[in-house]
Each structure stands twice: as structure tokens, then as C-alpha cells.
Amino acid sequence: MSADLATYNFAYLDEQTKRMIRRAILKAIAIPGYQVPFASREMPMPYGWGTGGVQVTASIIGPEDVLKVIDQGADDTTNAVSIRAFFQKVADVAVTTHTKDATIIQTRHRIPEQKLTEGQVLVYQVPIPEPLRFLEPRETETRKMHALEEYGLMHVKLYEDIAINGRISKTYAYPVKVDGRYVMDPSPTPKFDNPKMHMSDALQLFGAGREKRIYAVPPHTEVVSLDFEDYPFEIQTFEQDCALCGAHGVYLDEVVLDDKGGRMFVCSDTDHCEDRREHGHVGAMLAPNQEAAE
């Protein structure tokens, strides 16, 4: 057995593979919302843990890029830490937790609160790229439905939701229509984040490794959440403000404090929360300490 098993290329993937993935990305950008099949590679992390996002990031990252990786909006969730460490190891790139400093942001389940700007790329990790999958399990069928723009089934499902529950009960992975043509799965982000996708200045790339699909929303592209005239799309609202930074109108995590029903709500986007606190914003939980210190 050879002593050194392998030396890996910059960003792990070989250049041939990167070119193949870039071609898929270019096609995806050219046809917004269309799922481009690509020859997904086996990655050194498990399927379902971001192999699609990692392959997209590995194909577009260069030595001068600054990478941010989040999971559930946080930079220090274990899988985000692991993916960030992977790119530090195989690509030796600069990493950051600051949204505004990053050129590439790989994410799972959230879009940062801070508005993304031109030149930034948001890479989503996607488990099931097919928005119609929960209605029709067969790929051969769903591809046909997209080709024929046959989305009636989806509207029927949303209608049934209203008929049964009085509202559309989809709270995350809420389907959107991109550029007036393809219905797309925004990945399991809460629907709270859907409006951020619309006319974004940043490029949005979606990688599904296990399902071997890449899709994209180019900058300044219409992304409309599906709804009805009498039941318009709504995002989640929170009664509370962030207990740490006092932010309002952001997505909050509910944190259990004790076994007596004690709860607090804090920003899901940890960078946003830290940034606000640095700038002197204080939430209810930190306020008493503030006073004590004065």
C-alpha cells in the first residue's frame, strides 16, 4: 500500500470535475429555476450533509475568496464548522462569520438577515430539489410536469390545505415560481426568507448532491411565492424581539430555559445578532446587566 494515499487538488475536486460542475451552473443560471442534472461526485462527507453545496462551492471558489458557512443561520453549528474547516483544509481560503465580508456564503436552512449585495454568491445545500416530489415520487413524471409547465397539482395541494386547515400550512421549503416559468424548491429555509430571494443583488446557487441536481436564481430575478389572490402569501411574524439584541422583524429561535415553560427568543442569524450588539443594541435579557454595569 502506498504511504501517502492521495494529494488533493485545490478545493478537493479535480479540475475536470469542477469544469463539469461549472457548466451545469452556467446552464442553471441561463434557465432560472430549472434543475440541471450533473454528475455529482462522492464527497468525503455524507450525502444529505451538504455534498451538493460543497461541490458547488468547491467549483466556484478561488484563493482570493472569503467564505462564510452557516447552518440554521449560525456560523458555529457543528456541520457549518465542519464544512468551513473542510475548505480551510483543502483550499486554504480566508473565512469569516461576517455576512458583509463574505464573497461566498454556503448555507443550510437560512438566508442571512443582512441584505446581500452584488458580487456575493449564496450557495444553498438542498436535500430534495424537486418541489413536486411530495406530490409525485417519480422523477420521470415530475420532469415531464416541469417541461409542460403543468403545475396544477401544486395549486390543488395548496387549495386543499386552505380547505382543510384554513391556511396554507407549508412553513418551510415553500414553493416559489422563478422568472415566471419554473416552480422551484427554495430548499428547507423557512418561508420567512422567501422574499429575500426576490430580485436579490446576489447570485443564488442550489446544489443537491445525492439527487444530482444544480439550479440557480441569477441576480435581479423575480422569485414569487405561490399563493392565491384571496389567500396571499404571508411570512412568519414574531411577537417578541430578540432577547439579546432587541432586533425586530428577524427570524428567531426559541430557546428552552427550564422545565417550567420558560422560553426566550433569540436571533437565528448569529452574525446579525452579534453585529447589532457590537453596535450597542440591547435586548431584554441583557438590559438589566447593562444597568448594573453603569
Binding site: P37, P46, Y47, Y251, E254, M285
Partner: protein, 368 residues
């Protein structure tokens, strides 16, 4: 007071340190060597090579040791290594008729040219725990005989002489065997890609599906035409030389399942075949593979598709254990953002229902 969770990096590093400790186990015991794994847990190594699609006993043994004996984890390790290797080309098709056979059995003939060779099999062992294996007792050398000159002809060739069995089938001269690790998968698949998917598919999954066909879910009346295990030569055409050069020998298990077939609008009555070929020694896998291969030919042979084992998209989409384990186990990753969204939704819906109920009670009270 609540402090936002920090320190994922340290936690991960400590977890991996603990994993290494548990892998090594009791330090007073000698560490197991790669050679010991390869020699004494050879069938585990075979399974890892087969489902990782990489024939390298040492690396597979390393993977088994590194994974603490978790074979799907070992398969994953070896695949993640395989994916980085350059592809030089394709070998010429293996000629299993030329196999150096160590085991060969046929259930369709009492005796046949080349004979029935039992080889190193668990068959007919009584499954009684063997106390002699608790210690390191000397093991007898195996009985040996000189290999005869007689070619051990394949059962499919015997049946072919009578014209009772379907032929191997033809492929165009310029056909390039597909590779699903390099191209996106599309349904319906060609049979070469389907066989590749089955050859690297999960042994347990294929076993269960093969079993289901026997129990009536897509029954296909199978007979084991032949199972053979042994070494075959791998050759590759080198365009500059104009002839094939030998790359070496590999051990494979081949199963030819012969299936009774009454004929359909697409094919006349004849014996049809299901095929299984697996790296190393694994009869269970190669037999299951050939049952499922035959079941998946339902469309081609004009049979009704009524059972899971006949459904190509269902079988192939779910046969890969590295994909399956990744996606099932990803459920343990944090999902609290989505859970929060669902929590809020359920609370709202319950509030609506309670509101409506209170409303009804009030109406009732007012009416009384």
C-alpha cells in the same frame, strides 16, 4: 443566563479524539493489523470492495479497521477515496468462462462438465459455535488437487446449445459502458448502468428485494443455473499497442439465474436470465443481484409491472447504502429553524380551534 452556544470546533475535535480512543479499545490488547483484517475478516473486506466499487484489499481492510467494523462506514470511506482517482479507461469484458474456479455449483444439473466444486463454503456447516476458535489452535492445511485441463463451461453455454435460453444479447461495436459515478443518472436506465448500480447496491436491500420476488411480489421462477467463484484476468486494450495487456487477477462471484418464462407479446417462451457479478466472494449478494436484475427486466420482456422489485426507479434510487445512510442520518443535524416554523404553525392552528370552540360554548350559553 442563556449564552449562545459556542465552541462547535472544540466539541468536534474532542469527539473525534474520543472516537479514536474507542476505535483502539483496550490498550493492553495488541492492535489489529491491516493484514489480519484482510486475511481473517476477508468476507467483510470483500463486501466493502464490492459496494465501494474499488478492488483493493489493503485499502478496504484499512477502511474496515478505521470504521471499527461498521461496513457501510467502511464502504463510504473507500468510495470517497475512489472518487478522487483518475480514470484511465475501461477493461475489456471479463471472460468468466476462463475463470480459475475455486467454487462452482449448479442447481439445474446433477453433474456437468467441470463438475460441482464446493470450495470454501458455509453451506452444510452446522451452525454450532466452535469453542476451538476461542483459542488459537492450529488449522489443517486444505486438501489440494491439480487443476485439470478441462474448461469449466458455463451452464448458460450448455443451455444455449439447445437454443432454449436467451442469448447474451448484442451491443453496438462502439458501445461505451456507462458509469453512473461519472454521469448523472436518468430513467429508464440502460442495462449496463443498471447492473453497475446493482453491483454496488446494498447487500441487505437487494437480498430483501430478491426475497420478495420469491414470495410472490414479482415472481420470476428462478433456478440457480450456476454460481462460480474464482479468479479472472483483467485486461485492458492499449491503443498504442493494438492488443490487450493484462492488469492482473481479481476474485469475483458470478451468478447466472435461469428463469422459466412462458412468453409474452414481446418474447417467445424460453429460459430467461438474471445476472449477478460481485467483487470477492459473496454468493448472497450475487444471487440477490441476479434475482433483482431479472425482475427489473419486466418491461423489456413484456411482463406486468406489479411489484417493488420490478420498479426500476424505486429499486435503483434506493439501493445505494451510502446515499441512504447519509440522508437518513442527516435527520440528526439541527433542524430547529424549520421546527420553529412548524411549532408556530401548530400553535396558531390550535388557537384557532380553541377560539372556535370557546365561541360555540358562548353561543350555547347565550341560547340557554
Amino acid at each position: 443566563m442563556y449564552v449562545a452556544v459556542k465552541g462547535g470546533e472544540a466539541a468536534i475535535s474532542n469527539a473525534h479524539r474520543l472516537l479514536a480512543d474507542r476505535r483502539r479499545g483496550d490498550r493492553s490488547l495488541p492492535s489489529i493489523t491491516i493484514d489480519q483484517v484482510a486475511e481473517q475478516l476477508g468476507l467483510a473486506v470483500d463486501r466493502v470492495m464490492a459496494e465501494a466499487s474499488l478492488y483493493d484489499r489493503s485499502l478496504a481492510a484499512l477502511a474496515v479497521r478505521q470504521s471499527r467494523g461498521d461496513l457501510i462506514e467502511a464502504i463510504f470511506l473507500l468510495r470517497a477515496y475512489r472518487t478522487t482517482l483518475p480514470r484511465f479507461g475501461s477493461s475489456v469484458p471479463l471472460d468468466t468462462a476462463e475463470m480459475q474456479v475455486e467454487r462452482r455449483v449448479s442447481a439445474t444439473y446433477k453433474d456437468l462438465p467441470g463438475g460441482q466444486l464446493l470450495g470454501p463454503t458455509f453451506d452444510y456447516t452446522h451452525r454450532l459455535l466452535d469453542p476451538s476458535l476461542l483459542s488459537d489452535e492450529a488449522v489443517e492445511e486444505p486438501a489440494r488437487r491439480n487443476a485439470g485441463d478441462e474448461q469449466i463451461m458455463r451452464v448458460s453455454d450448455i443451455l444455449a446449445h439447445e437454443g432454449l435460453i436467451e442469448a447474451d444479447g448484442e451491443l453496438p461495436q462502439d458501445h461505451q459502458a456507462g458509469d453512473l459515478t461519472r454521469e448523472p443518472m436518468e430513467f429508464p436506465m440502460s442495462r449496463d448502468l443498471r447492473l453497475q448500480a446493482l453491483a454496488r447496491g446494498d447487500e441487505g436491500f437487494l437480498l430483501a428485494l430478491g426475497y420478495s420476488t420469491q414470495r410472490g411480489y414479482g415472481r420470476n421462477h428462478p433456478f440457480v443455473g450456476e454460481i462460480r467463484i474464482g479468479e479472472v484476468e483483467v485486461e485492458m486494450d492499449v491503443p498504442e499497442l493494438g492488443f490487450a495487456v493484462s492488469l492482473g487477477h481479481i476474485r469475483v462471484t458470478e451468478c447466472q439465474m435461469v428463469n422459466q418464462f412462458k412468453g409474452s407479446s414481446k418474447a417467445p417462451p424460453q429460459f430467461t436470465r438474471g445476472y449477478g457479478l460481485v467483487f470477492g466472494q459473496s454468493e448472497r449478494k450475487s444471487m440477490s443481484m441476479s434475482l433483482v436484475d431479472r425482475a427489473l427486466r419486466a418491461e423489456e420482456l413484456g411482463e406486468d409491472i406489479t411489484a417493488p422489485a420490478q420498479d426500476e426507479e424505486f429499486v435503483i434510487s434506493h439501493s445505494d447504502n451510502v446515499q441512504a445512510t447519509g440522508f437518513v442520518e442527516h435527520l440528526k443535524l439541527p433542524h430547529y429553524v424549520d421546527f420553529q416554523a412548524e411549532l408556530a404553525m401548530v400553535r396558531r392552528m390550535r388557537a384557532d380551534i380553541e377560539g372556535a370552540r370557546d365561541g360555540e360554548t358562548e353561543m350555547k350559553d347565550a341560547a340557554e
